[in-house]
Amino acid sequence: MKPLRRVLLPRSSEAHLFCYSFPSLCQISQIETAVKSLNFSMAADDILHGFSNLPLVWNMARQDVRLRYVRSVIGPLWVTITMALYVMGIGFVFGGLFGAPVREVVPWIAIGMIIWSLLSNILNEASVVLVQHRALLLQAKLSVSMFVLFVLLRNAIISAHHMVIYLLLFVVGLVAPSWNIVWIIIGLPLLFVAAFGFGLWAAILSARFHDLPPFFSSLTMVGFLFVPVMWRPVDLQRYREIADWNPLTHVLAALRDPMLGLPPSTLSLAVLGLTALICFGFGVLTLVYARRRVVFWI
């Protein structure tokens, strides 16, 4: 028997239009759009839906973090303690390995780890968030952006716990207070835009290609070695190119330098800006192309 072809239903051009309304955005609205064409306005609606539901997303993120501490005595402190021990361990081992003074290395590693764990967790969690929330996505018209923002907010909360370590660095005098910290007012929003962008494409592509979540987890594990978190570019005897030509070096530097009390270099900020632009652009394109297919993939 020959496979049935699309002649089951003739595809007239006008039959490709359908109307659309957002239940939670507005009471009554209709937007006519073509199904098959690349649809920017519905991708924009998706992003709008995510941001207009920030109270809900914040609620979910907060509850999710709180769930991790259920029946734990010191609760949220565990996040901070784990990170602090990790930083101290790496600080001593790698400080000794590279012959760098521990007083200089510990703040470098602490701040680098906070930023790196934020980024790698966002990538890894975004790649599974849609499948995890399959039940919700099939219940009502929701948006991909909403779940990407959920991952972002949840990790922002975790990072806020880590920032206690940063404050401790001030208290023990390893980092001197400086006005250069205000540079993160530029760095953080750019980082957020970049994370939202790569969160979008990681989430959508992972829904379709189930090889991606394990790929991302090994990528972040191996990538950790090639990014100047545990080591400083100046400590490298050879292969300086690993640091210099790695965009992540500059992304990290754009945020780490102000937190260390140094002014960030123009190059770092430029690379961060460009990264944000590329990630966001690619994220939106993925959304435009695959938004309506996501529910069929999960």
Partner: protein, 249 residues
């Protein structure tokens, strides 16, 4: 005022992970869903809905009946906007509340109260709106102090009552329901039916998919019979039941 208008709507489900080769031998399976055919190397398309056209006016109560896999749930999800049609056109008007799967979408570790907020907000209500309705929801669900305990400690009946109470407490123009209240006990069925009648009276449009002919005829005055992803009958509930039983014979 029209709540829904569908014109030649069709849905193709892509099914991944099966090689097209292995499925080439049985391209059509008549009893489950629609036609299955292959496209490309690794993707199989299943036609879940085919050429669906109908119009639901505001205030209409429409039932959906049909055999397993006829496309009832898929059609409800199309109406809800979860699935966007592969073919055809759909117009949707008004705020839509869905009651598809009671057990799903409850977060087990959270307390009942937290779930009231999360679920209500997922359905488009604000936190303040849910706070106002909390007492009324707890009263209907007969949970009393249990509302502060994690949902995982609830019995199936308690979960059902809570989820049902949350969904039916919201104000909406359209309610879409999929076989939800048929799993409660006698007492719940009576109370749920009462609440549903009020709810329907308040809001108007309702689309209900069910295997329970009684439920459909008691709530809906119009019924669609689905078969293999197509509309086999569209008319008054009494006639639809006759057409359906004739079909099943």
């Amino acid at each position: 005022m029209v709540s829904f208008e569908l014109c030649g709507v069709g849905i193709d489900f892509p099914i991944y992970g099966y090689t097209a080769k292995s499925l080439r031998s049985f391209v059509i399976r008549p009893m489950v869903g629609g036609a299955i055919r292959s496209e490309g190397q690794d993707v199989v398309l299943m036609r879940a809905l085919d050429d669906i056209s109908f119009r639901v006016k505001k205030g209409e109560r429409v039932g959906l009946i049909g055999h397993n896999g006829a496309g009832k749930s898929t059609l409800l999800r199309v109406l809800a906007g979860v699935y966007e049609p592969t073919y055809g056109r759909i117009t949707r008007n008004g705020r839509i509340i869905t009651l598809f799967d009671i057990a799903q979408g409850m977060l087990d570790e959270l307390s009942g109260q937290d779930n009231v907020f999360t679920r209500g907000m997922l359905l488009g209500a604000s936190r303040a709106e849910m706070a106002r309705k909390l007492d009324e929801i707890v009263t209907f669900a007969e949970l009393e102090d249990y509302i502060h305990l994690p949902v995982r400690t609830y019995s199936a009946g308690m979960k059902l009552r809570l989820a049902f109470a949350i969904c039916t407490s919201l104000e909406a123009d359209v309610v879409l329901m999929d076989e939800v209240i048929a799993i409660g006990d006698e007492r719940f069925m009576v109370r749920a039916n009462e609440r549903l009648q009020n709810f329907v009276g308040r809001f108007g449009t309702i689309v209900l998919a069910s295997h329970s002919i009684e439920l459909v005829t008691s709530i809906c005055h119009r019924t669609l019979v689905l078969s293999h992803g197509k509309i086999a009958f569209d008319g008054s509930s009494q006639d639809a039941v006759e057409a359906y039983s004739a079909m099943m014979r």
